[in-house]
Protein backbone atom coordinates (compact mmCIF):
# COMPACT_ATOMS: atom_id res chain seq x y z
CA UNK A 1 0.00 0.00 0.00
CA UNK A 2 2.69 2.39 1.01
CA UNK A 3 4.70 1.55 -2.05
CA UNK A 4 1.78 2.19 -4.32
CA UNK A 5 1.34 5.69 -3.00
CA UNK A 6 4.96 6.50 -3.07
CA UNK A 7 5.71 5.32 -6.56
CA UNK A 8 2.50 6.50 -8.14
CA UNK A 9 1.56 9.70 -6.44
CA UNK A 10 -0.44 11.08 -9.37
CA UNK A 11 -3.30 8.67 -9.08
CA UNK A 12 -4.79 10.48 -6.15
CA UNK A 13 -4.75 7.51 -3.81
CA UNK A 14 -3.40 9.65 -1.01
CA UNK A 15 -6.56 8.97 0.93
CA UNK A 16 -5.74 5.29 1.16
CA UNK A 17 -2.94 5.89 3.58
CA UNK A 18 -2.73 8.55 6.22
CA UNK A 19 -0.10 11.15 5.64
CA UNK A 20 1.14 10.62 9.17
CA UNK A 21 1.98 7.00 8.35
CA UNK A 22 4.42 8.06 5.65
CA UNK A 23 6.46 9.82 8.27
CA UNK A 24 6.17 7.09 10.92
CA UNK A 25 9.70 5.92 10.44
CA UNK A 26 11.16 9.34 9.80
CA UNK A 27 13.32 10.86 12.51
CA UNK A 28 12.11 14.23 13.72
CA UNK A 29 15.42 15.95 13.32
CA UNK A 30 17.08 18.25 10.78
CA UNK A 31 18.28 16.43 7.69
CA UNK A 32 16.39 13.20 8.32
CA UNK A 33 15.93 10.92 5.34
CA UNK A 34 12.46 10.37 3.83
CA UNK A 35 11.04 7.24 2.21
CA UNK A 36 10.68 8.87 -1.23
CA UNK A 37 12.24 12.30 -1.54
CA UNK A 38 11.29 14.40 -4.59
CA UNK A 39 13.74 17.13 -3.67
CA UNK A 40 17.12 16.66 -1.98
CA UNK A 41 19.56 19.32 -0.94
CA UNK A 42 23.21 18.82 -0.01
CA UNK A 43 25.60 21.32 1.57
CA UNK A 44 23.75 24.22 0.03
CA UNK A 45 25.39 27.50 0.86
CA UNK A 46 24.74 31.03 -0.33
CA UNK A 47 26.31 34.13 1.09
CA UNK A 48 25.91 37.80 0.28
CA UNK A 49 29.21 39.47 1.11
CA UNK A 50 29.97 38.53 4.68
CA UNK A 51 26.44 37.35 5.46
CA UNK A 52 25.75 33.65 5.11
CA UNK A 53 22.08 33.70 4.13
CA UNK A 54 21.68 29.96 3.64
CA UNK A 55 23.79 27.08 4.90
CA UNK A 56 21.81 23.86 4.74
CA UNK A 57 23.74 20.63 5.20
CA UNK A 58 21.11 18.17 4.08
CA UNK A 59 17.37 18.26 3.52
CA UNK A 60 14.93 15.89 1.89
CA UNK A 61 11.41 16.78 0.84
CA UNK A 62 8.94 13.92 0.71
CA UNK A 63 6.95 13.31 -2.46
CA UNK A 64 3.17 13.74 -2.48
CA UNK A 65 2.79 15.66 0.76
CA UNK A 66 2.63 19.27 1.89
CA UNK A 67 5.87 20.50 3.36
CA UNK A 68 5.94 23.87 5.08
CA UNK A 69 9.12 25.87 5.28
CA UNK A 70 8.85 28.24 8.19
CA UNK A 71 11.09 30.49 10.17
CA UNK A 72 11.22 33.99 11.58
CA UNK A 73 11.89 36.98 9.36
CA UNK A 74 15.43 36.93 8.00
CA UNK A 75 15.82 33.18 8.48
CA UNK A 76 16.82 32.74 4.83
CA UNK A 77 13.60 31.07 3.70
CA UNK A 78 13.20 33.07 0.53
CA UNK A 79 16.87 32.78 -0.39
CA UNK A 80 16.69 29.04 0.20
CA UNK A 81 13.53 28.95 -1.90
CA UNK A 82 15.23 30.83 -4.73
CA UNK A 83 18.07 28.31 -4.61
CA UNK A 84 15.67 25.37 -4.77
CA UNK A 85 13.92 26.86 -7.79
CA UNK A 86 17.31 27.84 -9.35
CA UNK A 87 16.34 31.50 -9.56
CA UNK A 88 19.53 31.99 -7.55
CA UNK A 89 22.81 30.07 -7.74
CA UNK A 90 24.42 28.60 -4.63
CA UNK A 91 28.08 29.22 -3.76
CA UNK A 92 28.45 25.52 -3.09
CA UNK A 93 26.26 22.46 -2.85
CA UNK A 94 23.61 20.89 -5.01
CA UNK A 95 19.89 20.51 -5.47
CA UNK A 96 18.54 17.21 -6.74
CA UNK A 97 15.01 17.23 -8.13
CA UNK A 98 13.33 13.95 -8.95
CA UNK A 99 16.64 12.11 -9.13
CA UNK A 100 18.35 14.71 -11.31
CA UNK A 101 20.97 17.25 -10.25
CA UNK A 102 19.42 20.56 -11.24
CA UNK A 103 21.96 22.92 -9.70
CA UNK A 104 22.68 25.67 -12.23
CA UNK A 105 19.80 24.69 -14.49
CA UNK A 106 18.04 27.80 -15.83
CA UNK A 107 14.70 28.25 -14.06
CA UNK A 108 12.63 27.96 -17.23
CA UNK A 109 13.97 24.47 -17.79
CA UNK A 110 12.98 23.46 -14.30
CA UNK A 111 9.39 24.39 -15.09
CA UNK A 112 9.48 22.02 -18.02
CA UNK A 113 10.80 19.26 -15.75
CA UNK A 114 7.82 19.67 -13.46
CA UNK A 115 8.76 22.20 -10.81
CA UNK A 116 6.80 25.44 -10.76
CA UNK A 117 6.96 28.31 -8.30
CA UNK A 118 4.94 31.32 -7.30
CA UNK A 119 6.21 34.58 -5.87
CA UNK A 120 5.84 36.36 -2.56
CA UNK A 121 4.80 39.51 -4.41
CA UNK A 122 2.25 38.12 -6.81
CA UNK A 123 3.15 38.31 -10.44
CA UNK A 124 -0.16 38.52 -12.24
CA UNK A 125 0.62 39.82 -15.73
CA UNK A 126 -1.50 42.97 -15.51
CA UNK A 127 -2.03 43.76 -19.18
CA UNK A 128 -2.85 40.23 -20.21
CA UNK A 129 -6.35 38.91 -19.70
CA UNK A 130 -6.89 36.33 -16.98
CA UNK A 131 -7.35 33.67 -19.64
CA UNK A 132 -4.12 34.71 -21.40
CA UNK A 133 -2.33 34.50 -18.07
CA UNK A 134 -3.56 30.94 -17.72
CA UNK A 135 -2.74 29.91 -21.27
CA UNK A 136 0.77 31.23 -20.89
CA UNK A 137 1.37 28.59 -18.24
CA UNK A 138 1.06 25.60 -20.58
CA UNK A 139 4.42 24.11 -21.51
CA UNK A 140 5.59 22.74 -24.89
CA UNK A 141 3.40 25.08 -26.91
CA UNK A 142 3.90 24.73 -30.64
CA UNK A 143 2.84 28.32 -31.28
CA UNK A 144 5.70 29.61 -29.17
CA UNK A 145 8.04 29.02 -32.09
CA UNK A 146 8.36 32.20 -34.12
CA UNK A 147 8.07 30.26 -37.39
CA UNK A 148 4.89 28.48 -36.46
CA UNK A 149 3.44 31.61 -34.90
CA UNK A 150 2.68 33.07 -38.34
CA UNK A 151 0.89 29.86 -39.34
CA UNK A 152 -2.07 29.57 -36.94
CA UNK A 153 -3.24 26.20 -38.32
CA UNK A 154 -0.07 24.64 -36.90
CA UNK A 155 -0.97 25.57 -33.32
CA UNK A 156 -4.70 26.30 -33.21
CA UNK A 157 -5.82 22.84 -32.15
CA UNK A 158 -3.33 22.73 -29.31
CA UNK A 159 -4.44 26.22 -28.32
CA UNK A 160 -8.04 25.05 -28.06
CA UNK A 161 -6.98 22.21 -25.79
CA UNK A 162 -4.99 24.60 -23.61
CA UNK A 163 -7.97 26.93 -23.42
CA UNK A 164 -10.19 24.08 -22.29
CA UNK A 165 -7.79 23.21 -19.48
CA UNK A 166 -7.48 26.86 -18.53
CA UNK A 167 -11.24 27.27 -18.33
CA UNK A 168 -11.56 24.19 -16.16
CA UNK A 169 -8.94 25.51 -13.76
CA UNK A 170 -10.52 28.98 -13.67
CA UNK A 171 -13.81 27.31 -12.77
CA UNK A 172 -12.13 25.37 -9.98
CA UNK A 173 -10.45 28.44 -8.55
CA UNK A 174 -13.67 30.47 -8.80
CA UNK A 175 -12.16 32.90 -11.29
CA UNK A 176 -14.29 32.03 -14.31
CA UNK A 177 -16.20 35.32 -14.10
CA UNK A 178 -12.90 37.21 -14.51
CA UNK A 179 -11.86 35.19 -17.58
CA UNK A 180 -11.70 38.06 -20.08
CA UNK A 181 -10.74 40.88 -17.72
CA UNK A 182 -7.24 42.28 -17.48
CA UNK A 183 -5.42 40.50 -14.67
CA UNK A 184 -4.41 43.96 -13.42
CA UNK A 185 -8.00 44.64 -12.39
CA UNK A 186 -8.04 41.76 -9.90
CA UNK A 187 -7.87 42.09 -6.13
CA UNK A 188 -4.80 40.94 -4.26
CA UNK A 189 -6.46 37.70 -3.22
CA UNK A 190 -7.70 36.93 -6.71
CA UNK A 191 -4.17 37.42 -7.99
CA UNK A 192 -2.92 34.83 -5.50
CA UNK A 193 -5.57 32.43 -6.77
CA UNK A 194 -4.69 33.21 -10.38
CA UNK A 195 -1.01 32.60 -9.77
CA UNK A 196 -1.74 29.26 -8.16
CA UNK A 197 -4.12 28.25 -10.95
CA UNK A 198 -1.63 29.40 -13.59
CA UNK A 199 1.15 27.35 -12.06
CA UNK A 200 -1.03 24.25 -12.45
CA UNK A 201 -1.16 24.87 -16.19
CA UNK A 202 2.47 23.68 -16.33
CA UNK A 203 1.27 20.26 -15.16
CA UNK A 204 3.74 20.21 -12.27
CA UNK A 205 5.06 17.40 -10.09
CA UNK A 206 5.87 19.88 -7.37
CA UNK A 207 4.47 23.33 -6.65
CA UNK A 208 6.62 25.76 -4.70
CA UNK A 209 4.59 28.54 -3.09
CA UNK A 210 6.39 31.54 -1.68
CA UNK A 211 4.19 32.93 1.13
CA UNK A 212 0.90 32.15 -0.58
CA UNK A 213 -1.09 33.68 2.29
CA UNK A 214 0.86 36.92 2.64
CA UNK A 215 -1.41 39.96 2.63
CA UNK A 216 -4.60 37.92 2.23
CA UNK A 217 -7.65 38.33 4.48
CA UNK A 218 -8.56 35.48 6.84
CA UNK A 219 -11.58 34.30 4.85
CA UNK A 220 -9.56 34.00 1.65
CA UNK A 221 -6.72 32.36 3.56
CA UNK A 222 -9.07 29.48 4.32
CA UNK A 223 -10.01 29.17 0.67
CA UNK A 224 -6.35 29.29 -0.39
CA UNK A 225 -5.50 26.64 2.15
CA UNK A 226 -8.29 24.49 0.71
CA UNK A 227 -6.79 24.84 -2.74
CA UNK A 228 -3.32 23.93 -1.48
CA UNK A 229 -4.82 20.85 0.15
CA UNK A 230 -6.55 19.90 -3.09
CA UNK A 231 -3.25 20.08 -5.00
CA UNK A 232 -1.81 17.60 -2.61
CA UNK A 233 -4.86 15.36 -2.91
CA UNK A 234 -4.15 15.17 -6.63
CA UNK A 235 -0.71 13.82 -5.85
CA UNK A 236 1.21 17.04 -6.48
CA UNK A 237 3.94 17.67 -3.94
CA UNK A 238 3.71 21.08 -2.31
CA UNK A 239 6.39 23.13 -0.59
CA UNK A 240 5.35 26.45 0.83
CA UNK A 241 7.11 29.21 2.68
CA UNK A 242 5.31 30.85 5.54
CA UNK A 243 6.25 32.68 8.65
CA UNK A 244 2.90 32.37 10.38
CA UNK A 245 2.84 29.15 12.45
CA UNK A 246 -0.97 29.11 12.67
CA UNK A 247 -1.43 28.88 8.92
CA UNK A 248 0.99 25.99 8.84
CA UNK A 249 -0.82 24.02 11.51
CA UNK A 250 -3.91 23.42 9.39
CA UNK A 251 -2.48 21.90 6.28
CA UNK A 252 1.15 20.90 6.50
CA UNK A 253 2.10 17.25 6.78
CA UNK A 254 5.68 18.07 7.58
CA UNK A 255 7.31 21.25 8.79
CA UNK A 256 10.87 22.39 8.21
CA UNK A 257 12.01 25.24 10.42
CA UNK A 258 14.81 27.55 9.37
CA UNK A 259 16.67 30.12 11.42
CA UNK A 260 19.78 32.06 10.57
CA UNK A 261 20.15 30.21 7.31
CA UNK A 262 20.07 26.72 8.77
CA UNK A 263 17.45 24.05 9.18
CA UNK A 264 17.01 23.86 12.94
CA UNK A 265 14.09 21.47 13.22
CA UNK A 266 11.90 19.12 11.20
CA UNK A 267 8.80 17.17 12.03
CA UNK A 268 5.02 17.19 12.03
CA UNK A 269 3.64 20.49 13.30
CA UNK A 270 2.71 18.91 16.63
CA UNK A 271 6.35 18.24 17.37
CA UNK A 272 7.49 21.68 16.23
CA UNK A 273 5.58 23.85 18.65
CA UNK A 274 7.29 22.28 21.62
CA UNK A 275 10.77 22.27 20.15
CA UNK A 276 13.02 24.44 22.28
CA UNK A 277 15.23 25.55 19.37
CA UNK A 278 12.17 26.69 17.44
CA UNK A 279 10.80 28.63 20.40
CA UNK A 280 14.19 30.24 20.85
CA UNK A 281 14.40 31.15 17.19
CA UNK A 282 10.98 32.77 17.17
CA UNK A 283 10.98 34.44 20.55
CA UNK A 284 14.65 34.93 21.36
CA UNK A 285 16.59 32.58 23.56
CA UNK A 286 16.13 34.43 26.83
CA UNK A 287 12.37 34.77 26.85
CA UNK A 288 11.96 32.55 29.89
CA UNK A 289 14.09 34.55 32.26
CA UNK A 290 12.01 36.62 34.69
CA UNK A 291 11.23 40.13 33.62
CA UNK A 292 12.81 42.79 35.73
CA UNK A 293 10.57 45.83 35.97
CA UNK A 294 12.84 47.74 38.30
CA UNK A 295 15.12 48.93 35.55
CA UNK A 296 14.81 50.87 32.34
CA UNK A 297 11.67 49.16 31.03
CA UNK A 298 9.37 51.34 33.14
CA UNK A 299 11.64 53.96 34.61
CA UNK A 300 12.58 55.55 31.35
CA UNK A 301 15.89 56.73 32.77
CA UNK A 302 17.77 54.72 30.18
CA UNK A 303 15.76 56.30 27.40
Amino acid sequence: MTDELLTNGENGSAGAISRAEIFESVAKQPGSSKPDPILTVDNLRRSFGGLVAVDVEHLEVQRGVITALIGPNGAGKTTFFNLLTTFDRPDTGKVVFDGEDVTGTPPHRLANKGMVRTFQLTKALSKLSVLENMKLGAVDQKGESIWRAVLPPTWKSQEREIEKRADALLERFQLAHMRDEFAGTMSGGQRKLLEMARSLMTDPKIVMLDEPMAGVNPALTQSLLGHVRSLSDEGISVVFVEHDMDVVRDISDWVVVMAEGQVIAEGPHSSIGANQRVIDAYLGSHHDSALDFSEDLLGGSAL
Binding site: F87, A111, T118, I146, A149
Partner: protein, 333 residues
Protein backbone atom coordinates in the same frame (compact mmCIF):
# COMPACT_ATOMS: atom_id res chain seq x y z
CA UNK B 1 -3.04 93.64 -44.07
CA UNK B 2 -3.70 91.32 -46.99
CA UNK B 3 -3.70 87.56 -46.52
CA UNK B 4 -2.24 86.14 -49.64
CA UNK B 5 -1.92 82.69 -48.14
CA UNK B 6 -1.85 79.92 -50.69
CA UNK B 7 -3.82 77.25 -48.81
CA UNK B 8 -3.77 74.89 -51.78
CA UNK B 9 0.01 74.89 -51.92
CA UNK B 10 0.34 74.33 -48.17
CA UNK B 11 -2.09 71.41 -48.23
CA UNK B 12 -0.49 69.83 -51.27
CA UNK B 13 2.93 69.94 -49.69
CA UNK B 14 1.58 68.66 -46.39
CA UNK B 15 -0.45 65.76 -47.74
CA UNK B 16 2.26 64.77 -50.20
CA UNK B 17 4.75 64.44 -47.37
CA UNK B 18 2.33 63.01 -44.80
CA UNK B 19 1.93 59.99 -47.09
CA UNK B 20 5.34 60.32 -48.70
CA UNK B 21 8.57 58.31 -48.59
CA UNK B 22 9.62 59.67 -45.20
CA UNK B 23 6.31 58.64 -43.67
CA UNK B 24 6.85 55.16 -45.12
CA UNK B 25 10.32 55.02 -43.57
CA UNK B 26 9.10 56.18 -40.17
CA UNK B 27 6.12 53.84 -40.23
CA UNK B 28 8.34 50.87 -41.06
CA UNK B 29 10.95 51.85 -38.47
CA UNK B 30 8.27 52.33 -35.84
CA UNK B 31 6.87 48.84 -36.55
CA UNK B 32 10.28 47.49 -35.57
CA UNK B 33 10.44 49.66 -32.48
CA UNK B 34 6.91 48.59 -31.57
CA UNK B 35 8.07 44.97 -31.48
CA UNK B 36 10.97 45.98 -29.24
CA UNK B 37 9.28 48.36 -26.88
CA UNK B 38 5.53 48.01 -27.37
CA UNK B 39 5.28 44.24 -27.19
CA UNK B 40 8.46 43.07 -25.46
CA UNK B 41 9.32 46.07 -23.30
CA UNK B 42 12.88 46.37 -24.65
CA UNK B 43 14.15 49.92 -24.26
CA UNK B 44 15.86 50.52 -27.57
CA UNK B 45 17.15 54.08 -27.73
CA UNK B 46 19.36 53.46 -30.72
CA UNK B 47 16.88 52.34 -33.33
CA UNK B 48 18.57 54.56 -35.91
CA UNK B 49 21.52 52.16 -35.68
CA UNK B 50 19.38 49.43 -37.27
CA UNK B 51 18.37 51.83 -40.05
CA UNK B 52 22.04 52.66 -40.61
CA UNK B 53 22.96 48.98 -40.68
CA UNK B 54 20.24 48.27 -43.24
CA UNK B 55 21.23 51.22 -45.40
CA UNK B 56 24.96 50.59 -45.34
CA UNK B 57 24.50 46.85 -45.67
CA UNK B 58 22.57 47.27 -48.90
CA UNK B 59 24.81 49.95 -50.37
CA UNK B 60 28.07 48.20 -49.46
CA UNK B 61 26.81 44.93 -50.90
CA UNK B 62 26.32 46.73 -54.21
CA UNK B 63 29.38 49.00 -54.28
CA UNK B 64 31.98 46.69 -52.72
CA UNK B 65 30.74 43.25 -53.71
CA UNK B 66 28.65 44.08 -56.82
CA UNK B 67 25.72 42.09 -55.57
CA UNK B 68 22.36 42.06 -57.36
CA UNK B 69 20.14 44.89 -56.01
CA UNK B 70 17.38 42.53 -54.83
CA UNK B 71 19.77 40.32 -52.89
CA UNK B 72 21.50 43.43 -51.57
CA UNK B 73 18.37 44.30 -49.58
CA UNK B 74 18.84 40.94 -47.88
CA UNK B 75 22.39 41.95 -47.00
CA UNK B 76 21.08 45.13 -45.42
CA UNK B 77 18.77 43.05 -43.27
CA UNK B 78 21.60 40.68 -42.38
CA UNK B 79 23.69 43.67 -41.23
CA UNK B 80 20.79 44.73 -39.01
CA UNK B 81 20.45 41.19 -37.62
CA UNK B 82 24.15 41.04 -36.82
CA UNK B 83 23.84 44.38 -35.02
CA UNK B 84 20.91 43.01 -33.00
CA UNK B 85 22.97 39.96 -32.02
CA UNK B 86 25.93 42.07 -30.98
CA UNK B 87 23.69 44.29 -28.87
CA UNK B 88 21.56 41.52 -27.43
CA UNK B 89 24.07 38.87 -26.41
CA UNK B 90 25.70 40.88 -23.61
CA UNK B 91 22.73 43.01 -22.52
CA UNK B 92 19.57 40.93 -22.67
CA UNK B 93 20.51 38.95 -19.57
CA UNK B 94 20.83 42.19 -17.66
CA UNK B 95 18.23 44.67 -16.48
CA UNK B 96 16.30 46.57 -19.14
CA UNK B 97 18.16 49.86 -18.69
CA UNK B 98 21.43 48.34 -19.88
CA UNK B 99 20.01 47.72 -23.32
CA UNK B 100 18.93 51.37 -23.42
CA UNK B 101 22.44 52.58 -22.67
CA UNK B 102 24.11 50.15 -25.04
CA UNK B 103 21.78 50.82 -27.98
CA UNK B 104 22.13 54.60 -27.81
CA UNK B 105 25.92 54.25 -27.71
CA UNK B 106 26.07 51.58 -30.41
CA UNK B 107 24.09 53.68 -32.87
CA UNK B 108 26.55 56.53 -32.46
CA UNK B 109 29.54 54.21 -32.72
CA UNK B 110 28.14 52.87 -35.96
CA UNK B 111 27.70 56.36 -37.40
CA UNK B 112 31.20 57.45 -36.35
CA UNK B 113 32.69 54.24 -37.73
CA UNK B 114 30.97 54.83 -41.07
CA UNK B 115 32.41 58.34 -41.34
CA UNK B 116 35.86 57.36 -40.05
CA UNK B 117 38.88 57.53 -42.32
CA UNK B 118 39.83 53.97 -41.42
CA UNK B 119 36.79 52.61 -43.27
CA UNK B 120 36.97 55.18 -46.03
CA UNK B 121 37.56 52.62 -48.74
CA UNK B 122 34.26 50.91 -47.91
CA UNK B 123 31.96 53.66 -46.64
CA UNK B 124 33.51 56.73 -48.30
CA UNK B 125 33.57 58.60 -45.00
CA UNK B 126 31.44 61.67 -44.54
CA UNK B 127 30.51 62.04 -48.23
CA UNK B 128 28.83 58.69 -48.12
CA UNK B 129 28.02 56.15 -50.81
CA UNK B 130 26.38 57.49 -53.93
CA UNK B 131 26.70 55.14 -56.90
CA UNK B 132 24.62 52.19 -55.85
CA UNK B 133 20.96 53.06 -56.46
CA UNK B 134 21.07 52.75 -60.26
CA UNK B 135 19.69 49.23 -60.26
CA UNK B 136 16.66 50.31 -58.31
CA UNK B 137 16.11 53.37 -60.47
CA UNK B 138 16.26 51.24 -63.62
CA UNK B 139 13.67 48.88 -62.18
CA UNK B 140 11.28 51.71 -61.34
CA UNK B 141 8.09 51.30 -63.42
CA UNK B 142 7.26 55.02 -63.09
CA UNK B 143 9.13 57.55 -65.17
CA UNK B 144 7.47 60.96 -64.96
CA UNK B 145 6.27 63.16 -62.15
CA UNK B 146 3.06 61.73 -60.76
CA UNK B 147 0.18 63.97 -59.70
CA UNK B 148 -2.87 62.35 -58.15
CA UNK B 149 -5.34 64.65 -56.38
CA UNK B 150 -3.40 66.68 -53.84
CA UNK B 151 -0.36 64.41 -54.12
CA UNK B 152 2.66 65.16 -56.24
CA UNK B 153 5.65 62.79 -56.34
CA UNK B 154 8.86 62.30 -58.28
CA UNK B 155 9.05 58.88 -59.99
CA UNK B 156 11.28 57.24 -57.35
CA UNK B 157 9.27 58.77 -54.53
CA UNK B 158 6.07 57.46 -56.06
CA UNK B 159 7.56 53.98 -56.33
CA UNK B 160 8.49 54.13 -52.67
CA UNK B 161 5.02 55.36 -51.77
CA UNK B 162 3.30 52.55 -53.66
CA UNK B 163 5.59 49.63 -52.81
CA UNK B 164 6.57 51.05 -49.41
CA UNK B 165 3.04 51.33 -48.09
CA UNK B 166 2.34 47.90 -49.53
CA UNK B 167 5.32 46.56 -47.59
CA UNK B 168 4.14 48.39 -44.46
CA UNK B 169 0.72 46.76 -44.86
CA UNK B 170 2.24 43.29 -45.26
CA UNK B 171 4.62 43.67 -42.31
CA UNK B 172 1.83 45.12 -40.15
CA UNK B 173 -0.34 42.14 -41.03
CA UNK B 174 2.42 39.74 -40.03
CA UNK B 175 2.94 41.60 -36.75
CA UNK B 176 -0.79 41.44 -36.07
CA UNK B 177 -0.79 37.71 -36.76
CA UNK B 178 2.32 36.92 -34.75
CA UNK B 179 1.29 38.96 -31.72
CA UNK B 180 -1.96 37.01 -31.44
CA UNK B 181 -0.04 33.74 -31.32
CA UNK B 182 1.39 32.03 -28.23
CA UNK B 183 4.76 33.52 -29.28
CA UNK B 184 3.36 37.02 -28.98
CA UNK B 185 1.78 36.10 -25.67
CA UNK B 186 5.18 35.17 -24.28
CA UNK B 187 6.62 38.52 -25.42
CA UNK B 188 3.85 40.41 -23.63
CA UNK B 189 4.35 38.28 -20.54
CA UNK B 190 8.06 39.15 -20.56
CA UNK B 191 7.16 42.82 -20.89
CA UNK B 192 4.89 42.54 -17.84
CA UNK B 193 7.15 40.40 -15.69
CA UNK B 194 10.15 38.48 -16.90
CA UNK B 195 10.50 36.33 -13.79
CA UNK B 196 6.91 35.17 -13.99
CA UNK B 197 7.51 34.08 -17.57
CA UNK B 198 10.66 32.21 -16.55
CA UNK B 199 8.89 30.51 -13.68
CA UNK B 200 6.35 29.23 -16.21
CA UNK B 201 9.04 27.66 -18.37
CA UNK B 202 9.66 30.42 -20.90
CA UNK B 203 13.25 31.11 -21.91
CA UNK B 204 13.00 34.88 -21.54
CA UNK B 205 16.47 35.49 -22.95
CA UNK B 206 15.74 33.61 -26.13
CA UNK B 207 12.39 35.33 -26.67
CA UNK B 208 13.88 38.77 -26.06
CA UNK B 209 16.62 37.98 -28.56
CA UNK B 210 14.08 36.90 -31.16
CA UNK B 211 12.13 40.11 -30.62
CA UNK B 212 15.30 42.20 -30.90
CA UNK B 213 16.26 40.42 -34.13
CA UNK B 214 12.82 40.75 -35.69
CA UNK B 215 12.41 44.42 -34.79
CA UNK B 216 16.00 45.11 -35.87
CA UNK B 217 15.46 43.46 -39.25
CA UNK B 218 12.37 45.59 -39.84
CA UNK B 219 14.37 48.66 -38.79
CA UNK B 220 17.08 47.66 -41.27
CA UNK B 221 14.51 47.44 -44.05
CA UNK B 222 13.28 50.92 -43.08
CA UNK B 223 16.88 52.13 -43.41
CA UNK B 224 17.03 50.77 -46.93
CA UNK B 225 13.84 52.66 -47.89
CA UNK B 226 15.27 55.79 -46.29
CA UNK B 227 18.39 55.84 -48.47
CA UNK B 228 16.55 54.73 -51.58
CA UNK B 229 14.56 57.97 -51.38
CA UNK B 230 17.73 60.08 -51.46
CA UNK B 231 19.80 57.61 -53.52
CA UNK B 232 22.70 58.31 -51.18
CA UNK B 233 23.93 56.82 -47.90
CA UNK B 234 25.40 59.49 -45.66
CA UNK B 235 26.53 58.82 -42.12
CA UNK B 236 25.19 62.09 -40.74
CA UNK B 237 21.62 61.31 -41.69
CA UNK B 238 21.70 58.60 -39.02
CA UNK B 239 21.85 60.83 -35.96
CA UNK B 240 20.30 60.11 -32.54
CA UNK B 241 17.37 62.57 -32.84
CA UNK B 242 15.87 60.37 -35.57
CA UNK B 243 15.55 57.57 -33.00
CA UNK B 244 13.45 59.87 -30.86
CA UNK B 245 11.30 60.92 -33.80
CA UNK B 246 10.55 57.25 -34.31
CA UNK B 247 9.67 57.02 -30.62
CA UNK B 248 7.40 60.03 -31.08
CA UNK B 249 5.65 58.27 -33.93
CA UNK B 250 5.10 55.18 -31.80
CA UNK B 251 3.89 57.08 -28.77
CA UNK B 252 1.54 59.20 -30.88
CA UNK B 253 -0.21 56.07 -32.04
CA UNK B 254 0.10 54.20 -28.75
CA UNK B 255 2.53 51.37 -28.02
CA UNK B 256 1.63 47.74 -28.65
CA UNK B 257 -1.03 48.53 -31.27
CA UNK B 258 -0.63 47.33 -34.84
CA UNK B 259 -1.83 50.56 -36.51
CA UNK B 260 0.12 52.91 -34.26
CA UNK B 261 3.29 53.09 -36.37
CA UNK B 262 1.33 53.78 -39.56
CA UNK B 263 -1.03 56.41 -38.23
CA UNK B 264 1.66 57.87 -35.97
CA UNK B 265 4.02 58.33 -38.92
CA UNK B 266 1.35 60.04 -41.03
CA UNK B 267 0.37 62.40 -38.21
CA UNK B 268 4.00 63.11 -37.38
CA UNK B 269 4.82 64.18 -40.92
CA UNK B 270 1.53 65.99 -41.31
CA UNK B 271 2.26 68.18 -38.28
CA UNK B 272 5.90 68.74 -39.19
CA UNK B 273 5.32 69.65 -42.81
CA UNK B 274 2.08 71.56 -42.22
CA UNK B 275 3.63 73.80 -39.58
CA UNK B 276 6.74 74.39 -41.66
CA UNK B 277 4.85 75.04 -44.85
CA UNK B 278 2.27 77.29 -43.22
CA UNK B 279 4.82 79.27 -41.24
CA UNK B 280 7.04 79.72 -44.29
CA UNK B 281 4.10 81.12 -46.21
CA UNK B 282 3.09 83.39 -43.35
CA UNK B 283 6.62 84.68 -42.90
CA UNK B 284 7.08 85.16 -46.64
CA UNK B 285 3.96 87.26 -47.10
CA UNK B 286 4.63 89.31 -43.98
CA UNK B 287 1.68 88.09 -41.89
CA UNK B 288 4.22 87.04 -39.30
CA UNK B 289 6.72 89.90 -39.11
CA UNK B 290 10.40 89.03 -39.19
CA UNK B 291 10.83 90.61 -35.76
CA UNK B 292 8.90 87.61 -34.37
CA UNK B 293 10.11 84.87 -36.69
CA UNK B 294 12.77 84.79 -39.37
CA UNK B 295 12.32 82.44 -42.32
CA UNK B 296 15.47 80.60 -41.26
CA UNK B 297 13.94 79.82 -37.87
CA UNK B 298 10.87 78.11 -39.25
CA UNK B 299 12.41 74.67 -39.40
CA UNK B 300 13.19 74.82 -35.69
CA UNK B 301 9.73 76.03 -34.76
CA UNK B 302 8.08 73.01 -36.38
CA UNK B 303 9.74 70.74 -33.83
CA UNK B 304 8.66 73.10 -31.11
CA UNK B 305 5.09 72.66 -32.30
CA UNK B 306 5.58 68.90 -32.49
CA UNK B 307 6.86 68.95 -28.92
CA UNK B 308 3.88 70.96 -27.72
CA UNK B 309 1.56 68.53 -29.41
CA UNK B 310 3.30 65.61 -27.75
CA UNK B 311 2.98 67.30 -24.36
CA UNK B 312 -0.70 67.89 -24.98
CA UNK B 313 -1.09 64.24 -25.92
CA UNK B 314 0.63 63.11 -22.72
CA UNK B 315 -1.72 65.28 -20.67
CA UNK B 316 -5.00 64.47 -22.39
CA UNK B 317 -4.44 61.11 -24.00
CA UNK B 318 -1.33 59.48 -22.54
CA UNK B 319 -2.21 56.10 -24.05
CA UNK B 320 -1.81 57.46 -27.59
CA UNK B 321 -4.44 57.38 -30.32
CA UNK B 322 -5.11 53.65 -30.32
CA UNK B 323 -4.18 52.90 -26.74
CA UNK B 324 -6.62 51.89 -24.04
CA UNK B 325 -6.64 54.25 -21.09
CA UNK B 326 -7.94 51.59 -18.74
CA UNK B 327 -5.14 49.28 -19.78
CA UNK B 328 -2.59 52.02 -19.24
CA UNK B 329 -3.98 52.80 -15.78
CA UNK B 330 -3.15 49.22 -14.73
CA UNK B 331 0.44 50.33 -14.39
CA UNK B 332 -0.42 52.50 -11.42
CA UNK B 333 -1.79 49.72 -9.30
Amino acid sequence: MMFALDVGKVMQETLTQAFGPQAVVFAMAAIGLNIHFGYTGLLNFGHIGFLAAGAYGTAIAITSWSINPVLAIGFGIIFALVLALILGVPTLRLRADYLAIVTIAAAEILRLLARSTALRSVTRGAEGLNEWAGGYQDANPFSSIIEVGPFRYLPMQFAIVVFGWLAVAIVSGLVWLIMRSPWGRVLKAIREDEDAARALGKNAYSFKMQALLLGGAIGGFAGFIQVLDKATVQPDTFVPPITFFIWTVLILGGAARVFSPVVGAIIFWFVIVFSESLLSELVADGTVPSSILESTQVSNVRFLIMGLMLMGLMVFRPQGIFGDREEMALDDR
